[in-house]
Symmetry: C2
Subunit: 244 residues, 2 copies
């Protein structure tokens, strides 16, 4: 049976401060839970309406649909909810491409960017502390399991960049044309906030400003959404590695 | 004053069948409304809490915040709501790149794809009838004004493709590597449904299957979301036009 204490714990994990304090987060749905169970993530507790998971029975509680509704934060709860431990971040590898996020606020955007990192084989994603928490339930949902394959670290981005020996790239409206720019297979690629782009402080330590040129002719066109910009930038960096 | 009839009309426009019958749709928010006012779209009626728009006074009704709340479908209504006429689609230009959508269902995805078409100078977007309606309020919101600059037509996609003389491209998991494929500056690019990709019927008349290769090594990685795939595919097609 789901106790009041269970409900209280699970609801508290909707808040970043409790996730950080307890070092726990929730995952909902069969596919997502299976991906986390098959990864290095450690299960804390599994609440499920069906015994379809390969999880230790000591950590599994069979519950009713009604109980699932009480603990789920989804409109249409899907079979199960699991609590996993937030792992310690591994050290960021200083080789290869690193994606850095400066104040990305939208959970859907972060989730999509994590998925893109997974697709394009980016092992390290570093975020400054104002970027949305990657263990936010909406982010976890949007990553479709990619969270288990990308090493995400929340850091002081300025310090990290200052200690980095390679080139730091940033996306701007008025930089080098990304299609003709010389792009290495190592470096940091910084993407900025949805409304304001990359902050002035971070901008001051960017080595190379790159731009996705606009082909349509209207001056009213909004700049690309940060997730789409990430898709195009990663595509361009990776393309070069197979052509050379 | 907003009448009951106004409210009834505006609410009915949340449904596709009434939008099609009345040939009207709604736009909310200052920026969006201004973009439509500055375009070829014809205003039917403007409900606003502030006189900040350049619109004929005969078609403008000043309303209170409370009245705006009654007609808005947003949680946080923003200043105004406008009703515009749905224009007749222009003939699709047979030159240049055309994007075709086969059963894209998510309003956010369609909105993002329209924005990408605008950015990459794609003038024509053709959709089969099962693709979400581009005058759906969520789509209009997500396009950030790009809807005024892309010609969108709902058609029988199979017939359209059969009558087209150039190459028809489709995105698949097992086609030619897009980065090394020869890509022309004319053609139709087909993108498919979020869960099922391109349908069997449409697939049978695709000339060239292209693939965005995966660089990460996990077999569990989900395929790219259709909006991100569109971003990368349009980026690749357009890049070639500046290199040659």
């Amino acid at each position: 049976m789901v106790t009041k204490q269970d409900i209280k714990l699970i609801k508290s994990l909707n808040q970043k401060k409790y996730r950080q304090k307890l070092e726990l987060f929730t995952v909902e749905g069969v596919k997502g839970i299976k991906e986390f169970l098959n990864s290095h993530y450690k299960l804390n507790r599994l609440y499920t309406t069906k015994q379809i998971f390969e999880a230790p029975s000591t950590k599994t509680l069979e519950i009713s649909e009604n109980e699932l509704k009480k603990i789920s934060s989804l409109k249409n709860p899907n079979t199960a909810l699991a609590i996993f431990e937030i792992p310690k971040s591994k050290n960021t590898n200083s080789h290869g491409l690193i994606v850095a996020l400066d104040d990305v606020r939208d959970p859907g955007n972060l989730g999509t960017i994590i998925r893109l990192c997974d697709w394009y084989g980016i092992k390290d994603l570093v975020c400054n502390h104002s970027t949305v928490d990657c263990y936010n339930a909406k982010v976890v949902q949007a990553t479709m399991g990619s969270l288990t394959r990308v090493n995400i670290t929340y850091i002081n981005l300025v310090e990290f960049m200052l200690n980095y020996s390679g080139d730091v790239f940033g996306t701007y409206m008025n930089g080098e044309n990304i299609y003709s720019a010389d792009l290495p297979n190592e470096g940091i690629i910084v993407l900025g906030n949805e409304a304001n782009g990359i902050s002035a402080e971070i901008s001051s330590i960017i080595d190379r400003r790159i731009t996705i040129p606009q082909f349509g002719k209207s001056k009213d066109t909004e700049s690309l959404n940060v997730a789409n910009a990430t898709a195009i930038v990663l595509s361009e960096f990776r393309r070069r590695t197979i052509e050379t």
